[in-house]
Symmetry: C2
Subunit: 361 residues, 2 copies
Amino acid sequence: MTIYNFSAGPATMPAEVIQEIKNDLPSYKNSGMSVMEISHRSALFEEIFQKAQQDMRDLLKIPDNYQVLFFQGGCTLQFTAAPLNLANKYHRIALLDSGHWAERAGAEAKRVGVKVDVLDSSEKDHYTKLPSLEKLQKDTYDYLHITTNNTIEGTAYTQLPNTDTTELVGDMSSNFMGQRYDVKQFGAIMAGAQKNLGIAGLTIVIVRDDLIGKVPNLPSMLDYQLFAKKESMFNTPPVFAIYAAGLVLQWLKNQGGIDEMEHRNRQKSGLLYDFLDNSKLFEAPVIKKDRSLTNVVFVTGNPEIDQQVVSQAAESGLVNIKGHRLVGGMRASLYNAMPYEGVEHLVDFLKNFEKNYRGKH
Amino acid sequence: MTIYNFSAGPATMPAEVIQEIKNDLPSYKNSGMSVMEISHRSALFEEIFQKAQQDMRDLLKIPDNYQVLFFQGGCTLQFTAAPLNLANKYHRIALLDSGHWAERAGAEAKRVGVKVDVLDSSEKDHYTKLPSLEKLQKDTYDYLHITTNNTIEGTAYTQLPNTDTTELVGDMSSNFMGQRYDVKQFGAIMAGAQKNLGIAGLTIVIVRDDLIGKVPNLPSMLDYQLFAKKESMFNTPPVFAIYAAGLVLQWLKNQGGIDEMEHRNRQKSGLLYDFLDNSKLFEAPVIKKDRSLTNVVFVTGNPEIDQQVVSQAAESGLVNIKGHRLVGGMRASLYNAMPYEGVEHLVDFLKNFEKNYRGKH
């Protein structure tokens, strides 16, 4: 039975990449060593590292005046690092509360003494839509933090908020490289790798040159300027995770890049949303214009039926469609590595489930 | 040609572990998913995680009143986290300066406003011996930080300093599980995984219960109490690195545990040190009682000859014996996964090199 893994992260990776990782064991490029065993200062790794960085620049069209940095610790550590590095003038940031991860970003900023103004929240709508921002009222924010894609709630920004008077900082973890954003519109972007870029334990930070190097004496592992200077190797980087990301980036290039991925993700999520919108049993609670391409949330309204859906789907090889506990119901994560056939199978399964259910009720 | 990899880290791993990782691809335990793709909340990972933790407790004989925590970011991040969590009474720590990594630990503590008293330094001896501490003079330190094994300089503590009046915090990265220490003598131990425990991107913290939870409002990714409460999963942990560490821990158990490893490491390093002490070309600069079992530093005194040694060794399959740039010369890292035969080959090579060299000079 083919397994389709709809996990929100760590998540399915391209089958070709997994095969390449297997082929590269136990000896990478005839070195007699696996990638897990090579020094981060070795020529072998230097090649992996430079290629990954360049491929990311090419794919995302990252301008030359932006740094591409590789961290550990997930975006949660960046929720600390970003305000420490970037909130250095007003010590105050703005936030659009689009759900759990936005809230967490705000909480961490406060822990390092930065003030956080929530400009709008969609909590009252149970996060089934995005908060809105017509225009920033003040120019006394170091930046506005948004979560471009809300993994748990299933929403995503297509139109970015207007931030003429401040910088935009985006947590892009769950739609990084899954749809096109213009990097120039951001002061900084952060993204965990474990959704669309390989394995857990690697975090990407893309930040504009002129924003960094303004705060002396930061803890080294949180210092954007130091990481830029040391090419992300002040200490041992997560070598294997960077290698895996490199393979995913090469795969993305081979597949046609970000625009092709966005096209496919629109097709995949479109197929599922269309079914849900026409279903009498299932419902996608997020309003149409704010729907995520990568995390499709849906419910029956009855937790017991939801539970049956999740377990019967797993028996059919459609695994990890249980919704996050904060939202309930189901969630299908359709990252770049999820093939169209996987979504077809899921929709077929849901159709059958609905048919059987209606036969009995 | 068999390759023996003497890299200081990332470093050689047991061949059986690499093979097991390969065998587990692309489908782990018939799940249809690799370990890189499974959720950290899945039953599959829960089993990996609990077993790794328990095996570590068994191998190191960790008492029940110590937490075993899994972090990212290397010990460099712990150089920030440890003072933030533990230096909460006097905001002052003591340090024994045994070289580069001790110095780095002190520098990071200062960055978070903690005072650092260097009680002794062996800098004047070019770190060819350990600093000494007869007795702490004051009881106004939150802890004494030591580096149990100095990867770059090739020294290691066998006898721990007397710290009756304060806590001992040990950076054990490069001899973690390579020789026996009594965990009870430490308030906290930190160790990066990329030397003796698998792949880069995982850091272990072992800390006594009563020392944590005293500082409110720490950044979450640096908060020992929160990591204890959330079983190291406040956010996505480095799933694959924990899996790899779990395989290494199982391998260690199969091999006979830490005492057996220490025995073997003494044999391996003894073979090399014996040769060096009897050589007329090579020399081990570290004084005998302070020599590391895992990182053997040696020199000829002539950088050009050193360079020849390093490159000819590599041609013979003995790779990565170049010394750290701060010390020069050569360094052979003999972690648990380095077999005795590797050291025999290295000694044979060095003997031949010396014979040829003396023939010409």
